[in-house]
Symmetry: D2
Subunit: 371 residues, 4 copies
C-alpha cells in the first residue's frame, strides 16, 4: 500500500494521521473522498468507542472521552470532495505516570529506538509510538467500512486465540458480547482466566486476531507489489503489537502438498479456501481471511532489566494503567486497516476498468457485481 | 513501503518493474540512484544466476540465459544519478506448452483472477503473474545489497523448513552448497527425499524461508505505517508463493507472556531477540529475522478440478517444466526484497538526520555508526 | 513538484492543507520535518500576518485574528520528527454576505466549475477555492523559509507592476513599508491612485509580482520533470489569481538571439542573468528571479452577466468586502510557495549527494557551500 | 502534476522516462494503462516523426531513425493493463562532435549545473539533459492524445511568434505544412527569413508556442496545488527551452480591469475566454489556451565566453548540428505534455465521480458528456 510518509496510507483513498498520546490532539485527514456522500460522524464515533479503553476489567481502566470533531470537508452533512480533517483533543493525560520513565528505556517499547533514531523523544506514553495513534486509523477505517458495506462487503474480526488457548467458531453474535472479542463461548472462560492470572501477576498475554472480509468481487488487488495479500500484510503488520501476518492456510501451507493446498475451481469460484481468498494476489471471490499474531503487551508491572538514557544498566517496572492483553482492542484496529486496503483496492479497480477500460460485456460494473 | 503503481516499490530508492514471461523482455528501472558509484553488472548477474532455473534436478530444467543489459544511467562504468534501465530479453519461451491452458484456469494460479480483473490475459506462462517478474526484483535487490554491504549490513537467506521438515542451524557455508538452500546438512537428505517424492508423484511441496539482516544500526524504519516490520511484511508477501510473514518469535509470540517475550536491554542493545530486531517498528541493533511461509508450487502434473473460460467445469493437468519446490528459488528473491526495504530505510534515515536535523553529538553519521 | 492529492505538495518536505473559508478551521500538516529543531510559532505567525486582510484601505477591511495553533509534532519547543498539524479556527465569517450568491455563479470565480465538478459546493466565500486556503501555504512556507535562511538563502518578493504601471528597483526597504508592496517609491503614488480609482468604481486591477531567491548553491533542481523552473511554475501557478509565470527574461527571451540571451560563464558563475538563475532547470548560483502575472480580483461591485444554478441568464453584483488589487497579498504567498520548492529541492540534493553519493572533494557539504 | 522522481510524471496515468542522448537507448514506461485497448504503435511513431530532426533546412540536419519498440504490456495488439515499456535504440551518435566539449561548459546549457550537481556528467550531447529525452514524452503523449481524441478532445499547437515576429491565425491547415509550424502564411516568409539569417550568422532565435485544448468538459483539474493551470505550467516549463508559461490573457491580464478580464457566463459557458479555459483552476468548458516562451537555441556557432572544468576562463564555439530555432520541434512536445496533463485530469475526474460519488442526474458520464 503506497505511502509517502510513515504517517500516510492509501493511494486513491489516502489518510494522514498525526498526534501524540499526550500532545494537544490526535487526528487524521481523509483525502480522496468522493463528493456528495452523507457523512455520519456518529457511526464513526461508534467504531472509536470499540477500541476505547476502560470497557472491562480486562483492559486498561483509563477513561477517555475520545470525542471526534470535524475540522473541514463536510458541508451541510455531506462530503464536499475536499480533505476531511478529524481530531480528538486529548484529555485525562496524567503524564505524571510517565515522569519516572523519562530516562529509562522500557523493554519491548519504542523508547530506545526513538531516542536513537530522532535524538529526542516525547516520553509521555510513548508519544507518536503510542497505541493511541490507532484511533486515527479506526476513524478512517470506519469511513472505508461504511463505503464497503454499501457495496455488500463486510469486514469482521475476532480473536481466534488468547494466551495460547485456541477457540472454535467464530460465533459472531458472541464476539462483541465478550470483553476479549473471543469467537468461542466455550473457550472464553479459560481464556479469561488466563488473562486475569497474567494481570494479577503483573504480566501480560498475547493472542491471534482473525479478520474475515466477505462479499468481495473477483479482481481486487494488483500484480507484483500491489498484491492484496501484500497490502493486507503491510496494513496489519503496521499495528504496534503485531509480529506476524498470514492469509488462508498461511504458515500451514508450507507443510501441505500442492495437491492438497490448491483450491479446485468451480463455476461459483474456489471449492475450498486454503488460499484465503486470493489468486496471484488478487481477490478470487472467496472470503479473504487474515490472521495477526498479537504479542503480549510490553507494559508489565514486573521488574525488568534495561538501560537508562546514559546507557547504564537499570531496572524498570512500568507503573500506570495497562492492558493485560491488547488483542481485544486490536480487533477494531485490524478491521480498520483491512477496510482501508480493500476500499482502496476497490477504487483502484473502478479506476482501472472505467470508461475506455474494457469491453462492455465485462465492464467494471458487471465485473464488480460478480460473482 | 510506498508505491504509486503495483509495479513500483521504494521511496528514496525506487524501482519499476515491467515485462511478461513470454513477451519481448523483462526489465526494471532503478531510480533514485546516487551519482558517481561504480556499477558492477557482473555482480548483479551473479545474483540473477542464483534464482535461475535449471540448476539442479530439484528445480525446473528450463534453461534461460537471463543476460542482463544496461539501457541507461551508466557512463564509463559509473552511475550518473539518472534512471538505470536494465533488461533481460526473453529466450526459449516454448509458449506452445501453454496453448492448452488458454481457456482453462489453473487452480492456485492467477489465471481466473486476471481474466476477471482485466477482461483479458496473456496465457503464456502467466504473463505478468509469472515468477519470472522476480528477476527484475533480484537485479534491483542486488544493487541495494551491494550498497548495504558497503555499510556493513549483510542479508542472507536459507530454508528453515522444507516439506514440513525443519532444519537446525543455519550452517551458512552449506546453504549455497545444496540445491534446496537448506540450512541443515542433517535435515537436507530427508528434505531432498520429500521433494523428489513429490516430483515423482507429479506433486509439489512448500517450505519456510528465513532471512537474516545483520549489521543494522539502531533507528531504521519509521513509526505508524512505515514500521520496518510492516515494510518487510509487504515486501515479502508480495512474492508470488508467500502466504505468511513473521518477525522474531512471530506467531509464537502470541503464546508467550510479556515477561518472557520482552527482550531485556543491555548497554549493547537487546539481551535476546524475540522481537526479531525491531522496537516499535524501528531497528534495535539486533539482527532482523524474517520468516516467509512458501506454499507448494501451484503447477502440478496431477489432474485438477477447474473451470474453463466459459465457466464450465473441466479438468486440467499442468504440463511443462515446473519446480516441485519453489522455496529454494524464493531465497534470493526474499533477500532482494529485504535489501530494497532496508536500503530505502537507510536512505530515509540519512535524509531525516541530515544537515539541520540533529545535534552534532547525535548526528546521522554518529547515529548510523552506532553498534 | 510531486503531489498525491491536490491538497498536498512536496516530496521530502510535504504539506497537506485542509479547510474551507467558512468551515470550522483552515489548517496544514507539515510532514518530513527533521527532529530536534526549535519550532518558533511566533515567527510563523508573523508571516501569516503579512497576508492578513484589513491592513490598509487598499485591501479588504475584513478583520481576521488568524491565530495559529499547534496540534502535534512539537515537544518542549522542539520538533519531534513527526507530523506537525497547525490550525487556524475561523472567526468573523459573516456568511450572510454570501447567501445571495448561493444560486448564482460569479464570473471569474470557481463557482460554476466546482458545482459541475463536484455536483455540490459550499457557496460561503468559495469554500475550498477561497484565497483563505493560502494561509496554510504561508504557514508552511514560513517554516521552509526559516530553514533556508539558516542555509544563507533569502526569498523576497515585491510587485514589479501594479495596474499596468511598472516600477523600477526594487528598493527592498520600501517594499514592506507600502500597502501595495510596490518596489518603487516613485511609481507607488501612481499605482496607489490607480488602485483607489478601481476601488471607487467597484472595479479591480492586477499586477506583476516578482520573487528573488538569493544565496542558492549550484545544483538545486532536477532534470526532466523536476526542473527548478517547472516546480516554481507549478507552485506559483497554483496560487488562485495567477495566470502566467516566467523566469529571468521569460517571454522576452523569445524575442532575443542566442548570442544575446546565453549568459556567458565566469569563474564565479554566470556573468549576467537572463536565464533567471537556472541552467538546464538546475540552479546556476545566480539569483533565481520569478515573475507572476496576477489577474485583477474577480470579485467586483459592478453588475455582471452570468447564469444561475438552473442555467438561466442572470445578473450578479458581488457585495461584501473585497480587495481592489490582490497583488499585495499575493507577495507573501508567492514567497511561501517558492520557499517550499527550494527547501524541498535542497533536501533532494542532500539526499542525492549523501554518504556514498560522491567523491569527497565534491561532497554535498562542499558542494552546497559553493557560491 | 505529481511526480516521485524527476523522471516520472502523472498520477493515474504515469510515465517514467529514461535514457541519454548518446547512451544505448531512450525509453519510457507507461503505467496506469487500462486493459483491453488497441495499441497502435504506428500512430505513436507518427507523433515521434513530428519532432524528429532533419526535416527541413531550418532544423538540425541530423538524421535519426527513432524507431520505437515495445518491450512489454501489449499482447496480441491490445494493452494488458500492465506497464508498457517502449524504447528507441540510439544510432548515428557521432559523439566525436562532443569530445572538444568534455572540459568546457557551454553557456545556456546544463553542463556546469550537472557537473556541480552530480560531480560527473556525460558530456556527449548533454546526456540526460539532451532534448532527445523529449522523444519519450512525445511517445507517451501520443498515447494520451489518442485516448483524449476518443473523448472528443483535440490538442493542437503552433508557433504564435518566431524571432519576435507575431502571426495571426492560426490557420491549422498551414501549421503542419510549414517547417516553422507557423500559424500564419503571411508572417511565415518573414519569420523564415529571420531564422535563416540567424542560422547563417551562427546564431539562433526563439519563439512563442501556443497550444489549444478543445472539447474539454467542465470539471477537469483540481483545487489548491492541482489546478489545471498549475499542472500545465509544470508540464510546459519542464520542456528544456521554455522560460515562461501563461494561460488565456496571461501576463496581459495583469494590465486589465476586473470588469474587462472576467468572462461573463452564459448558458453555454463563458461568453469570452480571457481566462484561457479555467475557473478556479478547473476547466470551464471553454478551450484551454496555453502559451510557452521558447528561448533561442543555446547551441550557437559563435565564440562565447565560458570556463573550463578547472574553473579557468575559456572560449567555446559549439560545433556540430544544431537548430537555429527550436520552437518548431517544441510544438509536438508541448502538445504531448498538455495531453499527459489533461488525460490524467480526466482519469482523476472519472475516479472522483465514480460509483458512489454523485447523484445519478449528475454522474460522471452525464458530467463528462457536458459541453
Amino acid at each position: 500500500m503506497r505511502f509517502d510518509s510513515p504517517s500516510s496510507f492509501g493511494r486513491h483513498f489516502r489518510i494522514l494521521t498525526f498526534g501524540e498520546s499526550h500532545g494537544p490532539a490526535v487526528g487524521v485527514v481523509l483525502d480522496g473522498v468522493k463528493p456528495g456522500l452523507p457523512f455520519d460522524l456518529e457511526a464513526i464515533q461508534q467504531e472509536l468507542d470499540r477500541r476505547r479503553p476502560g470497557q472491562s476489567d480486562l483492559v486498561t481502566p483509563r477513561q477517555e472521552a475520545d470525542r471526534l470533531q470535524i475540522l473541514s470537508g463536510v458541508f451541510e452533512g455531506r462530503t464536499t470532495g475536499h480533505p476531511i480533517a478529524l481530531v480528538v483533543f486529548n484529555t485525562n493525560q496524567r503524564s505524571g505516570d510517565y515522569a519516572a520513565l523519562r530516562d529509562l528505556f522500557r523493554p519491548g517499547h519504542a523508547d530506545l529506538a526513538y531516542q536513537r533514531k530522532y535524538g529526542l523523544r516525547d516520553p509521555r506514553g510513548g508519544g507518536r509510538s503510542s497505541g493511541r495513534e490507532t484511533l486515527a486509523r479506526v476513524a478512517a477505517g470506519a469511513w472505508a467500512k461504511a463505503r464497503l458495506a454499501e457495496r455488500g462487503v463486510t469486514i469482521r474480526g475476532f480473536n481466534r486465540e488468547i494466551a495460547g488457548i485456541p477457540g472454535a467458531g467464530p460465533e459472531w453474535a458472541f464476539v462483541e458480547a465478550n470483553p476479549l472479542r473471543s469467537g468461542d463461548p466455550e473457550a472464553f472462560p479459560v481464556q479469561r482466566a488466563a488473562v486475569e492470572a497474567a494481570r494479577n501477576a503483573g504480566d501480560s498475554v498475547g493472542g491471534v486476531c482473525e479478520v474475515w472480509i466477505e462479499g468481495l468481487p473477483v479482481g481486487l488487488g494488483d500484480p507484483a507489489f500491489g498484491k492484496l495479500d501484500a497490502e493486507l500484510a503491510h496494513a496489519c503488520m503496521s499495528i504496534g503489537a503485531v509480529k506476524g501476518v498470514e492469509l488462508g492456510a498461511g504458515f500451514a501451507a508450507a507443510r501441505m502438498k500442492g495437491s492438497e493446498h490448491n483450491d479446485p475451481l468451480g463455476p461459483e469460484g474456489p471449492l475450498k479456501n486454503d488460499a484465503g481468498g486470493t489468486l496471484g494476489g488478487i481477490s478470487s471471490g472467496a472470503p479473504v481471511v487474515v490472521r495477526l499474531a498479537v504479542k503480549p503487551t510490553s507494559s508489565i508491572g514486573q521488574l525488568q532489566q534495561t538501560v537508562d538514557a546514559s546507557g547504564q544498566p537499570a531496572q524498570v517496572r512500568v507503573e500506570g494503567r495497562h492492558d493485560p492483553c491488547i488483542a481485544p482492542r486490536i480487533v477494531p484496529v485490524a478491521e480498520a486497516m483491512c477496510a482501508l486496503v480493500v476500499y482502496d483496492a476497490w477504487l483502484e479497480q473502478e479506476s482501472l476498468r472505467g470508461a475506455d477500460g474494457a469491453p462492455l460485456r465485462d465492464g467494471p460494473e458487471a465485473h464488480l457485481a460478480e460473482p
